[in-house]
Symmetry: C2
Subunit: 411 residues, 2 copies
């Protein structure tokens, strides 16, 4: 029997790093946030999710593969599928044949899953983008502005921010049904070309509290979270957006660090307390403050999400020395794997080290940390664009059989 | 030439552990706090400061020895000396001969100075108590109630709480001159005889930020601290006092842990952030939550001050198993030094361990930590009394020569 090629679309999506943090849901069912947040979209050259969607009336059921392993369709994926199909039915007038087809969804990350690199934001953004492409839907649809944002948000809150490139604000919104709780671009990926992000993957034995359960516990038990969300974040969002528009690294970096610290402070104020930073995270924080102290200005800024990995923001002219400093303080005995769009020499930053060791961060004399094998991977990334539609040759699924293609892992 | 024995008085003072935390000064010169705090006075059998004051017109200058080393008179000691002399002059009508004499002050701690056991509270309380005895002054003086508290506070804020035994509230006060910012006993040291404190001294390489500079930085930069001090602590003080009066361990323990965590949260919200907890502190915190989870109630409570050492509150019937658990998880290869008023057997708590390993703290399955040589000393203490006047044979100074006695270190 001759088999007909099925419809296959493939998209990729970036990760994003919040610089004004989201922690705590306003409405659990709608997945709306207690406060607005602001993020930077990282370039897909280093960190990305790729997802193919294949559909055909010949498929027997909807199935999902992540990084080569078939997964059951969890509740959040099911919600995204249902919402996208309903959206398609509304846009196209009524449920057509396509929206009733079963799908095969195949997704891979360009980075190790266990690294704690917030794959859910890129993953759900990519799923929404691929389904939108499959069903012929657009985020900019006149009648339903922000609908893709609303659906991505229901997969994973921060996923709505990964739909866009550049700098993005996820607005808390005012409507009871959450329809205006959507991600809006503050500036595109060409706006601040010098800005780089150095992602330091920290070795960590402990299993972290999942962000879903963590933020529920914090909301239920931390009096500081409610105060922060209501009284501090609205002003901080304005300050951050202005700093981004003005490419004001000093304000951007200072507030990024304060936001990271205040988010982790509310985790610590939780009962029982939640710890995402470990002693290596703390060493990186103190190293950045010392680095800024010797420079006499904010030249690098750290931020940490729900795990010990650091993301360091730095402008291009300082990337080389900052990465050299990280490699010096946290050497990997087998040689540090770096994935970077910028070339590095790996010489020791001796002049910088001398300067650092005679500095103080205002409180303490700077003492260079030395913790071999505690940072296991470094990614250096620029600000990048939003979700992309890829060509057919990038498909992760066989258009005839509907099965995942064998080599569908691109990390 | 025949030499006449000079007047020598000797006092001892306890340490205290705050269960509602003090962090941040309202008025730096007066050393008044941003909020009231509540503490437990620990028994002097384990942790105490002893101070002798000798005075004579034959002494050439006022001198100070701490733990066998002569020290210069710092600003805070000078303030306490001046204020005590002015108080004596007011009480006794005018400056008599005694208040113009030079003094030799000799002080020792019963614990290693470098252990980070908040020696300043006991130290300044003991200095004030010894000077009060020397000048014949009393805290209960009718005309000047709380005057010793006011003076001790100017040496070190928490020192005023160490003047009293039992459970103590240091009231923020209302007066501009700080005269009502004094320590008041909530309940005496006989009130809750079952309550014990297990002090775990944690090995730490890093030098911590001093609490004096730390609290100034937090006040200047943390928006969460101001909110906490104004809006959260007043209610927490009331709840804590009630829990103490009712010997309600569940409320006492829950709030003690929340207070510790919220204090450290404000340290993390500081720019640059201040870290006092390290990975071992975090392991102890999670161990206590697991211990409580297997018990199905709050049976132990941790609190941490400006360093990584843990103080664990527990009622007497559970001291044995809690200490055994700490020794099991944090063994000292050379054998753990314990200073305790309670006898221990050092058998492994195997039944408890089995129960723990099948528990969860609500979030995570309990996994027993194993970090040899990370807790270097354990003190087990009951609630104790306030400052004491000691007999002449306990003097640390030679009444004839005015020199420190050779063996004046009692740890």
């Amino acid at each position: 029997m001759e088999r007909v090629a099925m419809k296959v679309v493939t998209c990729s999506a970036p990760t994003n790093i919040a610089v004004v943090k989201y922690w705590g849901k306003d409405d659990v069912a709608l997945n709306t946030p207690l406060n607005s947040s602001v993020s930077v979209t990282l370039h897909q050259d280093q960190l990305r999710t790729t997802t193919s969607v294949a559909g055909s009336s010949s498929l027997q059921s909807t199935r999902l593969w992540l990084n080569g392993q078939e997964q059951s369709i969890n509740k959040r994926v099911a919600t995204v599928l249902r919402e996208m199909q309903q959206f398609a039915a509304r846009v196209h007038g009524k449920a057509d044949q396509e929206t009733r087809q079963h799908l095969h969804i195949v997704s891979t990350n360009s980075f190790p899953t266990a690294a704690g690199l917030a794959s859910s934001a890129a993953g759900y953004a990519c799923l929404v983008a691929a389904l939108a492409e499959f069903y012929g839907l657009s985020e900019a649809h006149e009648e339903f502005p922000g609908q893709l944002s609303v659906i991505a948000r229901q997969g994973s809150g921060s996923a709505c921010r990964s739909l866009h490139g550049g700098f993005v604000c996820w607005q808390k919104g005012e409507q009871a049904d959450g329809r205006d709780s959507i991600a809006v671009q503050v500036a595109d990926d060409k706006h601040w070309p010098e800005l780089c992000a150095v992602v330091c993957v920290v070795n960590d034995a402990a299993k972290d509290t999942s962000s879903t359960t963590g933020m529920q516990t914090t909301k239920a038990t931390s009096p500081l979270l409610a105060y922060r969300a209501q009284h501090l974040v609205p002003e901080r969002v304005k300050t951050m957006e202005k700093a981004i528009l003005e490419r004001d690294f000093d304000t951007f970096g200072t507030l990024t660090m304060q936001e990271s610290n205040q988010f982790h402070a509310t985790c610590l104020d939780t009962t029982p307390p939640i710890f995402y930073l470990n002693d290596i995270s703390r060493q990186i924080i103190q190293l950045v403050h010392c680095y800024n102290a010797q420079a006499g200005r904010v030249q690098a800024a750290y931020t940490f999400d729900a795990g010990p990995n650091a993301v360091l923001f730095v402008e291009e002219q300082h990337v080389q020395e900052l990465v050299a400093l990280v490699l010096h303080c946290f050497p990997l005995t087998s040689g540090m794997p770096i994935k970077s769009s910028i070339a590095f020499d790996r010489t020791s930053p001796s002049a910088l080290l001398t300067k650092l060791e005679t500095s103080s961060d205002g409180e303490r004399a700077c003492k260079m940390p030395h913790f071999p094998n505690s940072v296991k991977m470094v990614y250096v990334s620029r600000v990048g664009g939003g979700t992309r539609v890829l060509s057919a040759d990038k498909a992760l699924v066989d258009a005839v059989s509907g099965e995942p293609l064998p080599s569908n892992n691109d990390n």
